[in-house]
Symmetry: C2
Subunit: 237 residues, 2 copies
DNA sequence: CCAAAAGTGTTAACCGTACACCCATGC
DNA sequence: GCATGGGTGTACGGTTAACACTTTTGG
């Protein structure tokens, strides 16, 4: 007997939802969409959508990000699949959650209004529909966990950035503050930054040197572990 | 306009697959099932199944483990969702992969033959159907990654175990060997083990003390990070 | 000249690793 | 009594973290 079909099994909708993080220089932000139709009209949700018949969940997430930000090749990590039977009251839907990290300056303008989307401070985002608040919690934990050892937060910064900006980014994620001498020594000893001659002069009289990522070393890291966070057990999970 | 249904979207099957690890005292093993029906007859696969209409993927994984091992409350981590459109040639199926850690001595007997299941040495498992080899690779990486900092490998050992057994377990996972003096100092300083008076005398004349987990401290770890692996960057990812 | 932020060096504590010998027992 | 595996302590080196002053320049 050859099985050519799986009879009697339940088919269901499969969606992806993206927790899109940005950093404005001082605070972590998250991109949320306001639903324009019932039954969730005016409520906020993550950016998401159903997956199509001929694409993977990763492709679906990239497609949705392209549509909402105009951006291709966004940094994406699949983090968890949410499957409670009642999570979408309309119809059973499984959702695969992704963390997306984008440079907030590049995409800010095109998005807002076009899709009813808005950046929110992570700490005062509105309550979201379905289990999207759980997804955001999971994403925050994931990001803290992974960033303690992997250099992925650079995805949130522009091409050129200063050490004080980078430090503010880490301090924002872990809601703590670091000694700047130790921080700069550590991050520079990782050997993935190149100092430019140019200085950023907006936020101080003296000006801070711009740095840029050494793409070779970043993409082929000899040492994937950064350890920028002292005492990770204080902050991670 | 109220939306009461999602029209025009593709419904699909959702499955779970479990990468079930065991440790026989010397080697890591993995539990595989031999398919008894076409079109994959005689080929090996992971333990899995479709999820039902009224359960989460976690519940489905527990249900399948209960059926195949008789065991409830097995240690389970959701690791990744596999969604390539052609991964199951019969019909499009999304699969959520789980790592399961079980005490091989407890469940060995009931399983074998009942479900055409068998333990294989991880290093010489047969080729598996679909993308199950990818799942096993992902699971191995996940386990190395997580075990470097979290005390989860105890799930693979019986109630009572010796330090040499515990060390062999870690050495097996990372395919390396550790200095036993450093290893025992580290693991004991974590404060989650209780030494019993009893000794294990099978594998040596002198006998090795049995230890057991301090459940309180294990379940409410003050310090979740073990750091049993020196130079994690050598071994992890 | 003063305020504000950037940049830089030293020291002490701790952690990680290497390393070697004695112990207990069954044969 | 000897072979086998179990158990233990020390010392060195590297890493981490704590700490304060000088530099630059716009106003």
């Amino acid at each position: 007997m050859k099985i050519r079909s799986y009879k009697g099994q339940t088919r269901m909708l499969v969606a992806v939802d993206c927790i899109i993080f940005g950093f404005d220089g001082n605070n972590f932000k998250i991109l949320l969409a306001q639903k324009s139709f019932a039954p969730e009209k005016d409520k906020y949700s993550l950016m998401g959508g159903f997956i199509w018949a001929e694409e993977t969940v990763e492709e679906a997430a990239q497609r949705i990000l392209k549509r909402l930000t105009g951006l291709e090749g966004v940094y994406l990590d699949q983090i968890h699949t949410f499957s409670a039977p009642g999570r979408d009251p309309v119809e059973r839907t499984i959702s695969v959650a992704f963390v997306a990290l984008i440079d907030i300056h590049k995409y800010e303008k095109q998005i807002i209004h076009e899709y009813n989307a808005d950046w929110f401070l992570l700490q005062d985002k509105p309550k979201l529909i379905f289990d999207h608040d759980d997804m955001v919690d999971t994403a925050k934990k994931y990001l803290r966990y992974k960033a303690a050892m992997h250099p992925l937060l650079f995805e949130l910064l522009p091409e050129k950035f200063t050490l004080p900006q980078l430090q503010a980014l880490y301090e924002g994620l872990y809601e703590t503050s670091f000694d700047k001498r130790n921080f700069s020594r550590k991050v520079l000893s990782a050997g993935i930054l190149i100092r430019l001659d140019e200085k950023e002069k907006e936020s101080s009289k003296k000006g801070a040197y711009y740095f840029t990522l050494d793409k070779n070393k970043y993409l082929n890291p000899s040492k994937d572990f950064l350890n920028l966070i002292p005492n990770p057990e204080k902050h991670v999970y």
